[in-house]
Symmetry: C2
Subunit: 137 residues, 2 copies
DNA sequence: CTACTACTTTACGTTAACGTCAACTTAAAG
DNA sequence: CTTTAAGTTGACGTTAACGTAAAGTAGTAG
Protein backbone atom coordinates (compact mmCIF):
# COMPACT_ATOMS: atom_id res chain seq x y z
CA UNK A 1 0.00 0.00 0.00
CA UNK A 2 1.47 3.34 -0.97
CA UNK A 3 2.60 5.69 1.72
CA UNK A 4 -0.17 7.91 3.05
CA UNK A 5 1.96 10.97 2.46
CA UNK A 6 1.88 10.44 -1.29
CA UNK A 7 -1.87 10.82 -1.42
CA UNK A 8 -1.80 14.26 0.14
CA UNK A 9 0.62 15.81 -2.32
CA UNK A 10 -0.61 18.37 -4.82
CA UNK A 11 0.91 19.81 -7.93
CA UNK A 12 0.72 23.55 -8.36
CA UNK A 13 -2.14 23.22 -10.77
CA UNK A 14 -4.04 20.82 -8.54
CA UNK A 15 -3.73 23.01 -5.46
CA UNK A 16 -4.52 26.20 -7.36
CA UNK A 17 -7.61 24.74 -8.97
CA UNK A 18 -8.93 23.27 -5.76
CA UNK A 19 -8.57 26.63 -4.01
CA UNK A 20 -9.87 28.76 -6.85
CA UNK A 21 -6.63 30.64 -7.43
CA UNK A 22 -3.95 30.52 -10.13
CA UNK A 23 -0.52 28.92 -10.15
CA UNK A 24 0.83 32.43 -10.43
CA UNK A 25 -0.76 33.24 -7.10
CA UNK A 26 0.96 30.28 -5.46
CA UNK A 27 4.35 31.31 -6.89
CA UNK A 28 3.74 34.89 -5.81
CA UNK A 29 2.89 33.83 -2.23
CA UNK A 30 6.06 31.74 -2.19
CA UNK A 31 8.14 34.80 -3.02
CA UNK A 32 6.41 36.52 -0.10
CA UNK A 33 7.30 33.58 2.18
CA UNK A 34 3.67 32.91 2.90
CA UNK A 35 4.09 29.29 1.79
CA UNK A 36 7.12 27.03 1.31
CA UNK A 37 6.40 24.13 -1.05
CA UNK A 38 8.87 21.32 -1.53
CA UNK A 39 10.40 20.29 -4.85
CA UNK A 40 10.41 17.00 -6.72
CA UNK A 41 12.96 17.57 -9.46
CA UNK A 42 12.29 21.22 -10.20
CA UNK A 43 8.55 20.92 -9.72
CA UNK A 44 6.75 22.24 -6.70
CA UNK A 45 4.76 19.86 -4.56
CA UNK A 46 2.39 21.02 -1.86
CA UNK A 47 1.28 18.98 1.12
CA UNK A 48 -1.84 19.24 3.28
CA UNK A 49 -0.13 21.77 5.57
CA UNK A 50 0.54 24.06 2.58
CA UNK A 51 -3.09 23.66 1.61
CA UNK A 52 -4.29 24.48 5.12
CA UNK A 53 -2.02 27.50 5.22
CA UNK A 54 -3.39 28.66 1.88
CA UNK A 55 -6.91 28.40 3.26
CA UNK A 56 -5.97 30.68 6.14
CA UNK A 57 -4.38 33.09 3.68
CA UNK A 58 -7.51 33.21 1.56
CA UNK A 59 -9.67 33.76 4.61
CA UNK A 60 -7.46 36.69 5.59
CA UNK A 61 -7.87 38.09 2.10
CA UNK A 62 -11.64 37.72 2.33
CA UNK A 63 -11.52 39.72 5.55
CA UNK A 64 -9.58 42.39 3.62
CA UNK A 65 -6.08 42.10 5.05
CA UNK A 66 -2.96 42.81 3.00
CA UNK A 67 -0.65 39.88 2.51
CA UNK A 68 1.97 41.23 4.90
CA UNK A 69 -0.57 41.30 7.72
CA UNK A 70 -1.70 37.81 6.83
CA UNK A 71 1.89 36.58 7.00
CA UNK A 72 2.25 38.12 10.45
CA UNK A 73 -0.92 36.38 11.58
CA UNK A 74 0.27 33.04 10.19
CA UNK A 75 3.59 33.45 11.97
CA UNK A 76 1.67 34.06 15.21
CA UNK A 77 -0.49 31.06 14.42
CA UNK A 78 2.54 28.84 13.88
CA UNK A 79 4.70 30.21 16.61
CA UNK A 80 5.62 27.95 19.46
CA UNK A 81 4.77 30.17 22.41
CA UNK A 82 6.75 27.94 24.73
CA UNK A 83 9.95 28.83 23.00
CA UNK A 84 9.72 32.28 21.57
CA UNK A 85 11.61 34.67 23.82
CA UNK A 86 9.19 37.41 22.99
CA UNK A 87 5.97 36.02 24.35
CA UNK A 88 4.89 39.43 25.55
CA UNK A 89 5.31 40.71 22.00
CA UNK A 90 3.13 37.88 20.74
CA UNK A 91 0.45 38.73 23.29
CA UNK A 92 0.55 42.40 22.28
CA UNK A 93 0.28 41.63 18.58
CA UNK A 94 -2.57 39.23 19.14
CA UNK A 95 -4.40 41.77 21.26
CA UNK A 96 -4.01 44.41 18.54
CA UNK A 97 -5.35 42.03 15.96
CA UNK A 98 -8.31 41.09 18.12
CA UNK A 99 -9.12 44.78 18.59
CA UNK A 100 -8.86 45.42 14.86
CA UNK A 101 -11.13 42.55 13.94
CA UNK A 102 -13.66 43.44 16.60
CA UNK A 103 -13.88 46.96 15.20
CA UNK A 104 -14.29 45.53 11.75
CA UNK A 105 -17.10 43.33 13.05
CA UNK A 106 -18.84 46.39 14.41
CA UNK A 107 -18.52 48.18 11.08
CA UNK A 108 -20.01 45.16 9.37
CA UNK A 109 -22.85 44.96 11.89
CA UNK A 110 -23.70 48.63 11.31
CA UNK A 111 -23.64 48.13 7.56
CA UNK A 112 -25.79 44.99 7.83
CA UNK A 113 -28.35 46.90 9.89
CA UNK A 114 -28.57 49.56 7.22
CA UNK A 115 -28.85 47.01 4.44
CA UNK A 116 -31.60 45.16 6.29
CA UNK A 117 -33.51 48.41 6.65
CA UNK A 118 -33.16 49.13 2.95
CA UNK A 119 -34.26 45.57 2.22
CA UNK A 120 -37.29 45.86 4.45
CA UNK A 121 -38.44 49.12 2.89
CA UNK A 122 -37.88 47.87 -0.63
CA UNK A 123 -39.68 44.58 0.01
CA UNK A 124 -42.61 46.39 1.58
CA UNK A 125 -42.84 48.58 -1.49
CA UNK A 126 -42.86 45.53 -3.73
CA UNK A 127 -45.61 43.88 -1.66
CA UNK A 128 -47.89 46.90 -1.61
CA UNK A 129 -47.50 47.92 -5.20
CA UNK A 130 -50.06 46.49 -7.65
CA UNK A 131 -48.38 44.39 -10.27
CA UNK A 132 -48.09 46.40 -13.39
CA UNK A 133 -48.58 44.67 -16.71
CA UNK A 134 -46.53 46.42 -19.34
CA UNK A 135 -47.85 46.31 -22.87
CA UNK A 136 -45.24 44.84 -25.15
CA UNK A 137 -44.05 46.77 -28.18
CA UNK B 1 -27.09 85.72 12.48
CA UNK B 2 -25.36 83.90 9.72
CA UNK B 3 -27.21 81.21 7.90
CA UNK B 4 -26.94 77.79 9.48
CA UNK B 5 -25.80 76.33 6.16
CA UNK B 6 -22.61 78.34 6.26
CA UNK B 7 -21.46 76.66 9.44
CA UNK B 8 -21.64 73.21 7.93
CA UNK B 9 -19.45 73.94 4.94
CA UNK B 10 -15.96 72.53 4.76
CA UNK B 11 -13.01 73.28 2.56
CA UNK B 12 -11.18 70.33 1.09
CA UNK B 13 -8.44 70.62 3.65
CA UNK B 14 -10.88 70.90 6.54
CA UNK B 15 -12.88 67.86 5.51
CA UNK B 16 -9.79 65.81 4.72
CA UNK B 17 -8.14 66.59 8.01
CA UNK B 18 -11.25 65.88 10.05
CA UNK B 19 -11.63 62.48 8.37
CA UNK B 20 -7.96 61.53 8.44
CA UNK B 21 -7.54 61.44 4.67
CA UNK B 22 -5.82 63.72 2.14
CA UNK B 23 -7.25 66.31 -0.25
CA UNK B 24 -6.02 64.04 -2.99
CA UNK B 25 -8.27 61.31 -1.72
CA UNK B 26 -11.30 63.65 -1.87
CA UNK B 27 -10.47 64.65 -5.44
CA UNK B 28 -9.94 61.04 -6.40
CA UNK B 29 -13.31 60.01 -4.94
CA UNK B 30 -14.91 62.87 -6.86
CA UNK B 31 -13.55 61.50 -10.13
CA UNK B 32 -15.07 58.14 -9.13
CA UNK B 33 -18.45 59.85 -8.51
CA UNK B 34 -18.43 58.77 -4.91
CA UNK B 35 -18.91 62.38 -3.78
CA UNK B 36 -20.07 65.54 -5.56
CA UNK B 37 -18.86 68.71 -3.79
CA UNK B 38 -20.12 72.13 -4.81
CA UNK B 39 -17.89 74.99 -5.95
CA UNK B 40 -17.43 78.52 -4.65
CA UNK B 41 -15.40 80.16 -7.37
CA UNK B 42 -13.18 77.29 -8.40
CA UNK B 43 -12.83 75.93 -4.89
CA UNK B 44 -14.61 72.86 -3.67
CA UNK B 45 -16.93 73.14 -0.70
CA UNK B 46 -18.34 70.15 1.10
CA UNK B 47 -21.49 70.08 3.19
CA UNK B 48 -22.55 67.76 5.99
CA UNK B 49 -24.07 65.30 3.53
CA UNK B 50 -20.72 65.01 1.74
CA UNK B 51 -19.11 64.43 5.11
CA UNK B 52 -21.64 61.76 6.05
CA UNK B 53 -21.13 60.07 2.69
CA UNK B 54 -17.39 60.12 3.20
CA UNK B 55 -17.86 58.44 6.55
CA UNK B 56 -19.78 55.62 4.90
CA UNK B 57 -17.05 55.34 2.26
CA UNK B 58 -14.36 55.03 4.90
CA UNK B 59 -16.32 52.43 6.77
CA UNK B 60 -16.66 50.43 3.58
CA UNK B 61 -12.90 50.69 3.10
CA UNK B 62 -12.31 49.48 6.66
CA UNK B 63 -14.46 46.47 5.88
CA UNK B 64 -12.23 45.85 2.85
CA UNK B 65 -14.48 46.74 -0.06
CA UNK B 66 -13.16 48.21 -3.29
CA UNK B 67 -14.39 51.68 -4.12
CA UNK B 68 -16.67 50.47 -6.92
CA UNK B 69 -18.52 48.22 -4.48
CA UNK B 70 -18.77 51.06 -2.00
CA UNK B 71 -20.28 53.30 -4.66
CA UNK B 72 -22.86 50.64 -5.44
CA UNK B 73 -23.74 50.38 -1.76
CA UNK B 74 -24.05 54.17 -1.46
CA UNK B 75 -26.31 54.27 -4.49
CA UNK B 76 -28.50 51.63 -2.82
CA UNK B 77 -28.39 53.63 0.40
CA UNK B 78 -29.47 56.81 -1.40
CA UNK B 79 -31.97 55.27 -3.72
CA UNK B 80 -35.58 56.21 -3.34
CA UNK B 81 -37.18 52.79 -3.40
CA UNK B 82 -40.60 54.35 -4.03
CA UNK B 83 -39.49 55.58 -7.38
CA UNK B 84 -36.88 53.30 -8.76
CA UNK B 85 -38.45 51.08 -11.39
CA UNK B 86 -36.12 48.29 -10.47
CA UNK B 87 -37.06 47.63 -6.87
CA UNK B 88 -36.57 43.92 -7.34
CA UNK B 89 -33.03 44.60 -8.53
CA UNK B 90 -32.43 46.65 -5.42
CA UNK B 91 -33.70 43.83 -3.24
CA UNK B 92 -31.46 41.33 -5.01
CA UNK B 93 -28.37 43.51 -4.67
CA UNK B 94 -29.06 44.15 -1.01
CA UNK B 95 -29.53 40.45 -0.36
CA UNK B 96 -26.23 39.64 -2.07
CA UNK B 97 -24.46 42.24 0.01
CA UNK B 98 -26.00 40.95 3.24
CA UNK B 99 -24.84 37.45 2.34
CA UNK B 100 -21.34 38.65 1.59
CA UNK B 101 -21.02 40.57 4.84
CA UNK B 102 -22.43 37.71 6.87
CA UNK B 103 -19.82 35.39 5.41
CA UNK B 104 -17.16 37.95 6.20
CA UNK B 105 -18.43 38.11 9.77
CA UNK B 106 -18.09 34.35 10.06
CA UNK B 107 -14.52 34.49 8.74
CA UNK B 108 -13.74 37.15 11.31
CA UNK B 109 -15.36 35.15 14.12
CA UNK B 110 -13.27 32.09 13.20
CA UNK B 111 -10.12 34.18 13.12
CA UNK B 112 -10.98 35.82 16.45
CA UNK B 113 -11.47 32.39 18.03
CA UNK B 114 -8.03 31.32 16.85
CA UNK B 115 -6.43 34.53 18.05
CA UNK B 116 -8.07 34.20 21.46
CA UNK B 117 -6.71 30.67 21.73
CA UNK B 118 -3.23 31.87 20.86
CA UNK B 119 -3.62 34.69 23.37
CA UNK B 120 -4.74 32.32 26.09
CA UNK B 121 -1.83 29.93 25.58
CA UNK B 122 0.70 32.74 25.41
CA UNK B 123 -0.68 34.47 28.49
CA UNK B 124 -0.63 31.21 30.42
CA UNK B 125 2.99 30.73 29.45
CA UNK B 126 3.83 34.22 30.67
CA UNK B 127 2.06 33.61 33.98
CA UNK B 128 3.83 30.34 34.70
CA UNK B 129 7.31 31.44 33.71
CA UNK B 130 9.49 32.95 36.47
CA UNK B 131 10.29 36.56 35.77
CA UNK B 132 13.84 36.81 34.53
CA UNK B 133 15.94 39.81 35.62
CA UNK B 134 18.44 40.68 32.93
CA UNK B 135 21.66 42.31 34.10
CA UNK B 136 22.11 45.63 32.36
CA UNK B 137 25.22 46.30 30.28
C1' DC C 1 14.61 8.76 -30.62
C1' DT C 2 10.89 12.79 -31.36
C1' DA C 3 6.89 15.32 -30.17
C1' DC C 4 3.90 16.83 -26.89
C1' DT C 5 2.51 18.34 -22.38
C1' DA C 6 3.17 20.53 -18.21
C1' DC C 7 5.83 22.60 -15.55
C1' DT C 8 9.67 26.32 -14.71
C1' DT C 9 11.83 31.28 -14.60
C1' DT C 10 12.06 35.92 -16.02
C1' DA C 11 10.07 40.09 -17.02
C1' DC C 12 6.85 43.35 -18.35
C1' DG C 13 1.76 44.72 -18.10
C1' DT C 14 -2.50 45.80 -15.62
C1' DT C 15 -5.53 47.49 -12.07
C1' DA C 16 -6.70 49.87 -7.85
C1' DA C 17 -5.76 53.55 -4.86
C1' DC C 18 -3.74 57.00 -4.04
C1' DG C 19 1.16 60.07 -3.44
C1' DT C 20 3.97 63.55 -5.26
C1' DC C 21 5.07 67.42 -7.87
C1' DA C 22 5.04 71.20 -11.25
C1' DA C 23 2.52 74.86 -12.92
C1' DC C 24 -1.39 77.71 -12.59
C1' DT C 25 -5.28 80.53 -10.35
C1' DT C 26 -7.60 82.92 -6.82
C1' DA C 27 -8.22 84.99 -2.31
C1' DA C 28 -6.30 87.44 1.41
C1' DA C 29 -2.77 90.14 3.82
C1' DG C 30 0.39 94.01 3.89
C1' DC D 1 -0.41 97.49 -6.05
C1' DT D 2 2.64 93.18 -4.62
C1' DT D 3 3.36 89.16 -1.99
C1' DT D 4 1.88 85.17 0.24
C1' DA D 5 -1.04 81.40 1.08
C1' DA D 6 -4.14 78.05 -0.30
C1' DG D 7 -6.45 76.18 -3.44
C1' DT D 8 -6.66 74.06 -8.48
C1' DT D 9 -5.45 70.75 -12.58
C1' DG D 10 -2.65 67.54 -15.03
C1' DA D 11 0.45 64.00 -15.04
C1' DC D 12 3.71 60.85 -13.63
C1' DG D 13 5.27 57.77 -9.63
C1' DT D 14 4.49 54.19 -6.14
C1' DT D 15 2.71 50.10 -3.99
C1' DA D 16 0.14 45.84 -3.78
C1' DA D 17 -1.38 41.90 -6.08
C1' DC D 18 -1.35 39.51 -9.40
C1' DG D 19 -1.94 38.61 -15.11
C1' DT D 20 0.25 37.58 -19.31
C1' DA D 21 3.69 35.95 -22.25
C1' DA D 22 8.13 34.42 -23.93
C1' DA D 23 11.66 31.23 -23.44
C1' DG D 24 13.52 27.23 -21.23
C1' DT D 25 13.36 22.45 -18.92
C1' DA D 26 11.77 18.03 -17.69
C1' DG D 27 8.58 14.19 -17.85
C1' DT D 28 5.71 11.27 -20.64
C1' DA D 29 3.59 9.16 -24.70
C1' DG D 30 4.25 7.18 -29.19
Amino acid sequence: MSANIKESLYTATELATSLGVTSRTLRFYETKHLIQPKRVGNRRVYNYKDRARMQLILRGKRIGFPLDDIKEFLDLYDSDADRTPQIQLLVNKVENRIKQLTEQQQDIETTLDELREIHSIASETLKNKPKIRWSST
